[in-house]
């Protein structure tokens, strides 16, 4: 599904990613761990096409297509979704209008008719239940006045609406209490299918206990330095990153 080959990327002239190689197959969940500043968020931003980052070398293929040539919105239409570490508040833009614009843009991209207002609202109602998102929140402006937990639930709700094939969860567990974490993680699991994959960026084992990654990577100084099964996450939880650093 996703193939990253020798990816180098920089921001403001500073190189952050220094040769990333990563392959994600259909149905796999990959965990991406590493210390602050290792380049985890940079990698997710580069995959979704954030304009602040410059790719200086390498390529990203998504289902065989060259992702780096696509605009952020086209990447979204192709099925890539980023659950933001800090979801943005957009005062004055209602969740309904926001989601409808997003969904219909995707449908248009794939040559489908826009959803009728009735069908759209029905879909929203359905998907809201997955993350127990209150109707009141759905009627408000995007993320405006949402608590930290509500914002993250709203991210998973949007994911449910857009049905991406590759989801990137960037520290979706940060700022969540135990109950909110469970709701978000269970919501995510309900959306999983053998055709959908995910990259989960996290510092903690807790989220991974729910999501059960197939593969765990450790990112250090812009490179993936270690790749192993789920037990790697447990080991990092116990021992930190220093022992990996020493291995290098």
């Amino acid at each position: 599904m996703l193939e990253i080959i020798d990816l180098h990327a920089s921001i403001n002239g500073k190189e952050i990613l220094k040769g990333i190689n990563l392959t994600v197959r259909d149905g796999e969940v990959h965990a991406l761990m590493g210390q602050n500043g290792a380049g985890k968020s940079t990698l997710s931003n580069v995959i979704v096409g954030h304009p602040s980052y410059e790719v200086t070398q390498g390529q990203i293929l998504f289902n065989g297509k060259n992702l780096l040539e696509m605009k952020p919105e086209e990447r979204a239409h192709e099925g890539i979704f980023l659950s933001f570490q800090q979801p943005v508040e957009i005062p004055g833009v209602s969740m309904v209008n926001f989601m409808r614009a997003a969904l219909n843009a995707k449908r248009k991209y794939w040559g489908q008719e826009p959803l009728s207002a009735g069908d759209f609202l029905k879909l929203m109602r359905e998907k809201r239940r997955i993350v127990e998102l209150d109707n009141k929140l759905a009627n408000r402006s995007v993320n405006e006045g949402f608590s930290g937990g509500e914002k993250k639930r709203n991210e998973i709700f949007q994911m449910a609406m857009l049905e991406p094939t590759l989801s990137i969860l960037d520290e979706t567990d940060s700022g969540l209490d135990v109950d909110a974490l469970r709701i978000v993680a269970e919501g995510f699991n309900k959306l999983r299918t053998p055709q959908t994959s995910a990259i989960v960026i996290t510092h903690y084992q807790r989220l991974l206990d729910y999501l059960k990654p197939d593969i765990v990577h450790v990112l250090m100084n812009g490179r993936i330095v270690k790749t192993d099964g789920p037990q790697l996450a447990a080991e990092i939880e116990k021992r930190g990153f220093d022992w990996i650093k020493e291995e290098q």
Binding site: E73, I90, G92, N97, A101
Partner: protein, 447 residues
């Protein structure tokens, strides 16, 4: 020839013709206005209230005037369909500067309410007009007042007698219509006697692809306990220049809503001077500006708190794109003795391009010591974080920008009290941002 001279010459040459097609009331103020104009000329950039609009340049092109008041061969009731549906109004037209009375709305206004041409009313109600005309918009105070008073030949009167409530919205559509470049000088007089209530919606349209220059001087009297709502909506085109001066005098416990929406224009300067003359008067002003290309919109307000216990609330929002220029200068003056004044002025602006420019100048002068006042202004750009967030969800960049701009003016549109106008404005603003709001789309003349 400098800009003033052509108007001075015009007046000297055409004085007799101007007077012949006007009323003795309007003629009686002309000479004084002429002297004032000749003395002052157009204000330059150094004039505090004209910093942001180059008046001399606006007036320098050569425009025709219809001083002989030839009939304009059009029945607006047949060619014009209002942009604000579901609004059952009593509909009136002002064609260029002529009140159209060859056909009038069938709906009867309450007894004593007058909506008519100024000249006609000056014959029927000389004492009323003598009491009000030219009393607020003094020629000595402002060159546009002087020029308008010197050249205007007719105008519009809306009069509501004491205690009378006009339920139905009075809608006045100003139509610019000409086969040559044209200057029009409109005059408006609104008088609400004590306890009267009225709602007036004024829409500006231009039917022809010509250069237009419209001056408009409005004098508005709001009596004790009276309630006025006045909505001005401009939907003209890039070749239209509008210089509007509005003077409002409010008596004790009166309220006024004075909203101004500029959706489509060329160059617009709206001056609004509101004097809160009696205790307990309240004024609410909302301004919404959407401008792009090289459009220019300058709103200049003065709220004069001359009595105690008055309130003023202003909210002006601008969205500027391309090379548009916006200006908002709002001065609040709280005079000595105007205790317990509550005054709030908010101006927020969005420059959606690097080349759009906004001049913001909120001003607050307080000479009383027990008041609650605030004023503030912001100028910002579209948020990059929000734009990217929306694009990541698949919303194309243009659409995302449109949604953000629309959201920005949403606040001020939501605060418009006239429901049908509010609903319609949401729709019109969205179309405007999508570039689908072409001029006169509902008008048969242009098809």
């Amino acid at each position: 020839m400098n800009s003033e001279q052509q108007y001075i010459d015009l007046y000297l040459q055409a004085q007799e013709l101007i007077c012949r097609h006007s009323s003795s009331l309007m003629n009686s103020r002309r000479q004084e206005a002429f002297e004032a104009f000749r003395q002052s000329g157009f204000p330059g950039h150094q004039a505090e209230r004209y910093k942001y609009t180059d008046v001399a340049q606006v007036f320098s092109p050569d425009y025709g005037l219809n001083l002989s008041r030839l009939d304009i061969p059009v029945n607006p009731y047949e060619v014009f369909r209002c942009d604000v549906p579901n609004l059952s109004t009593s509909l009136y037209f002002v064609l260029n500067d002529q009140f159209y009375d060859k056909a009038l709305p069938k709906v009867q206004l309450p007894d004593g309410v007058i909506v008519s041409s100024l000249n006609k009313a000056s014959v029927q109600h000389p004492e009323l007009l003598e009491r009000c005309y030219g009393r607020l918009a003094r020629s000595g105070k402002d060159a546009i007042n002087a020029l308008n008073t010197m050249l205007a030949q007719d105008g519009l009167l809306v009069y509501v007698p004491r205690g009378v409530v006009v339920d139905r919205t009075i809608q006045v559509v100003n139509i610019l219509r000409a086969d040559v470049d044209l200057m029009v000088n409109r005059r408006v007089l609104v008088v609400l006697e004590d306890g009267a209530q009225a709602r007036i919606l004024v829409c500006d349209h231009a039917l022809d692809d010509r250069n237009f220059l419209a001056t408009q001087v409005s004098e508005i009297f709001v009596g004790e306990n009276a309630h006025l709502e006045l909505y001005e909506l401009e939907e003209t085109h890039v070749k239209c220049r509008r210089m509007s001066n509005m003077y409002v005098q409010m008596q004790a416990n009166s309220t006024a809503v004075l909203d101004s929406i500029t959706l489509q224009n060329g160059l617009t300067r709206n001056r609004a001077d509101v004097r809160l003359d009696g205790p307990g008067a309240e004024v609410y002003m909302n301004g919404c500006v959407i401008a792009d290309q090289k459009q220019h919109v300058d709103n200049n307000t003065l709220i004069d708190h001359a009595a105690a216990h008055c309130q003023s609330h202003q909210l002006y929002k601008y969205v500027l794109d391309d090379e548009a220029v916006g200006a908002f200068a709002g001065r609040i003056l709280v005079r000595e003795g105007a205790q317990h004044t509550v005054s709030k002025e908010t101006n927020a602006n969005l420059c959606a391009s690097r080349t759009a420019r906004m001049y913001a100048q909120p001003m607050l002068e307080i000479y009383a010591d027990d008041v609650k006042c605030s004023h503030g202004s912001t100028v910002g750009q579209l948020g990059d974080a929000a734009l990217f967030y929306m694009r990541q969800r698949g919303i194309p960049e243009d659409e995302a920008r449109m949604l953000l701009k629309f959201a920005f003016v949403g606040e001020v549109i939501d605060s418009i009290r006239l429901e049908s106008l509010r609903d319609r404005l949401h729709h019109l603003a969205e179309k405007r941002f999508r570039g689908e709001l072409s001029r006169c789309k509902d008008c048969k003349l242009c098809k």
